[in-house]
């Protein structure tokens, strides 16, 4: 099978993933993704047309869990402690660079 991941594909996926890869990283990524996808292609040998996807395993167990909690207001984390970890804050809000160009 021909390599399916090109430099253009890597650039598009990097944009979706909010990554900005260097030239060097892009070359390595093309090579690595093609190698890994070549390996995972063996999954197509399996006929799964009648198989329901399994997203997680709780349904396989006879145990409580996987239920939603009551929609009630409970105390949250301490604001000052949370905000102390922000790269830039005014104490109440997170500050970010300009969003809209004018």
């Amino acid at each position: 099978m021909a390599d399916q991941v090109t430099v253009e594909v890597v650039a598009r996926v990097a944009e979706l993933a909010n990554l900005e890869l260097t030239q060097e990283e892009t070359v390595a990524m093309v090579r690595d993704l093609n190698s890994i996808l070549g390996y995972v292609a063996q999954l197509s040998e399996l006929d799964t047309s009648d198989v329901e996807p399994l997203a997680q395993v709780t349904e396989l167990m006879q145990a409580g869990g996987g239920r939603l909690r009551e929609d009630a207001v409970t105390p949250s984390l301490d604001r000052a402690a949370v905000m102390s970890q922000a790269p830039e804050t005014d104490g109440t809000f997170f500050k970010v660079p300009k969003v809209i160009e004018r």
Partner: protein, 479 residues
């Protein structure tokens, strides 16, 4: 160089602390001294939490002096993998993007250990965001295997396994997404536990792949690992996928006989690629189970070969979503070169993440992107069901399944770093149980001629941790 030293058992330490023969504060200080002496050679700890540890140890000494009943882990020095948050103590997940991050809360698994009297010594090195099989992906340098410092400790919980192997903690917590507890336990010659998915709260575990991530303990022997799991297991309302099932007395399983138990051996785990010395060590272990009265039965898991591709699609897809939160806004690193918001996201992530993390985000994003979703992500979820059902069928006939944990003993640093796919194949015997959500224990089972540890993986069905511990104890006592 060799740094191995077996920690005292929980039972020994309990007697010493209860009778006052050892003070918890002295014990903690002796661990800090040992860590300060050998950590430069092993790079196991990223951060020590001395004030917090000594405060807790003083509390334990106070209780012991008054003759008050002591909780189960009173004064026991433990270490925590750096992917779990501990309030106020830098928690980096082995990543540059979380350098100096001080979490505002404790992961319940850690809080439960401390409520049981454990003394948290510090945070343990690991692969960045738990992505790796050798601990070489840490932004803070690799951990070295205490058995042989030229070799890797395994990953991603390399620091957690090495800490126990080198007696830099009596027990530790790690996390396992595709083998990250079991494989390093095997490489370092210690016991590692993969609890059933949902058995231990994931709240406060920095997420890699949520449908696979689990917190579990490491210890120097099976009974102590079982005691540790008993402390951290149980329902937690803060984790919506946490299981509301009773927690068994896991340690008591070590006193039960294995006679009459049915042990499955899957041929698919003994095929091409298995190191002959690992094979013979595991076969010896199986012979010992037979001698102890177990019935050994062949079981069939024919889709096993599809587990690695399935795992690396599911895990990376989930990772690409989970790691979207690291954007330089709320915590962690923000690139100074950010002219606008979009540029800030991209530069912060580009400069903050390491190569393997970027590779997995890219693979996951690709597998989820329009046009590829059905062929990759959906397909992998379908195969995941086949793999889980295969285990369920096997467990209808046997109580436990035993396999090698890894195809080889610990490999050398740098041996696989140039080839991501070769590194992924180090997880070939561990990822299937991860996808199926079942539980297991890795227990030391012989060594190679060169003295490298081999670990047997004992797998049991959902919530049958007790069964896995019982079999693992039998393997351990026959060593």
């Amino acid at each position: 160089m060799k740094y191995t030293e077996k920690p005292k058992t929980l039972k020994q330490l309990r007697v010493e602390i209860e009778t006052g023969a050892t003070k918890a504060t002295d014990l903690a200080n002796s661990y800090f001294e040992r860590i300060e002496r050998i950590n430069p050679d092993l790079n196991v700890y990223l951060q020590l939490s001395k004030d917090r540890a000594l405060e807790q140890a003083e509390r334990v000494d106070g209780l012991a002096a008054k003759g008050d009943p002591l909780p189960v882990l009173a004064g026991i020095p433990v270490g925590i993998k750096d992917v779990m948050v501990v309030k106020g103590i830098p928690s980096t997940a082995g990543s540059r993007i979380l350098k100096d991050y001080r979490p505002p809360y404790d992961a319940p698994a850690v809080a439960r250990l401390e409520a049981a009297g454990a003394v948290v010594l510090g945070k343990l090195n690991c692969d960045e965001f738990a992505m790796g099989s050798s601990n070489e992906n840490s932004a803070y340098g690799p951990v070295r295997n205490p058995v042989d410092t030229e070799r890797v400790p395994g990953g991603s919980s390399g620091g957690s396994a090495a800490a126990v192997a080198a007696n830099m903690a009596v027990a530790t917590l790690g996390s396992d997404t595709g083998g990250s507890i079991r494989q390093p336990a095997s490489f370092c010659g210690v016991v590692g536990v993969l609890p059933t998915w949902g058995r231990v709260s994931r709240y406060g575990l920095i997420a890699f792949a949520s449908s696979l991530d689990r917190i579990g303990p490491f210890a120097g022997n099976v009974r102590d690992a079982a005691t540790m799991l008993g402390v951290i297991a149980g329902f937690d309302p803060k984790d919506a996928t946490s299981l509301d099932a009773p927690v068994d007395d896991y340690a008591a399983e070590c006193d039960k006989p294995v006679e009459g138990m049915r042990i499955g051996v899957p041929a698919e785990y003994f095929g091409e690629g298995l190191d002959p010395e690992v094979r013979s060590a595991i076969e010896d272990g199986i012979a010992k189970l037979k001698a102890a009265g177990c019935t050994i039965k062949p079981v069939s898991l024919p889709n096993t070969k599809y587990a690695i591709p399935t795992y690396y699609l599911v895990a990376t897809a989930e990772a690409s979503a989970n790691l979207a939160r690291f954007d330089g806004v709320r915590y962690g690193y923000r690139s100074p070169s950010s002219e606008n918001l979009a540029g800030m996201y991209r530069h912060s992530r580009e400069e903050g993440f390491g190569a393997e993390v970027k590779r997995r985000i890219m693979l996951g994003t690709y597998a989820l992107s329009a046009g590829y979703y059905d062929a990759y992500y959906l397909k992998a979820q379908q195969v995941r069901r086949l793999l889980a059902e295969e285990f369920q069928r096997a467990f209808a006939d046997v109580d436990a399944i035993v396999t090698p944990t890894a195809p080889t003993p610990a490999f050398k640093l740098g041996e696989k770093t140039g080839d991501p796919l070769a590194m992924y194949l180090a997880d070939i015997y561990t990822v299937t149980a991860s996808l199926a959500g079942i539980c297991g224990v890795t227990v030391p089972c012989g060594t190679t001629k060169a003295g490298l540890p081999v670990g047997m993986q004992v797998l049991a069905s959902h919530l049958r941790e007790g069964t896995a511990f019982r079999v693992a104890c039998a393997v351990e006592s026959a060593e």
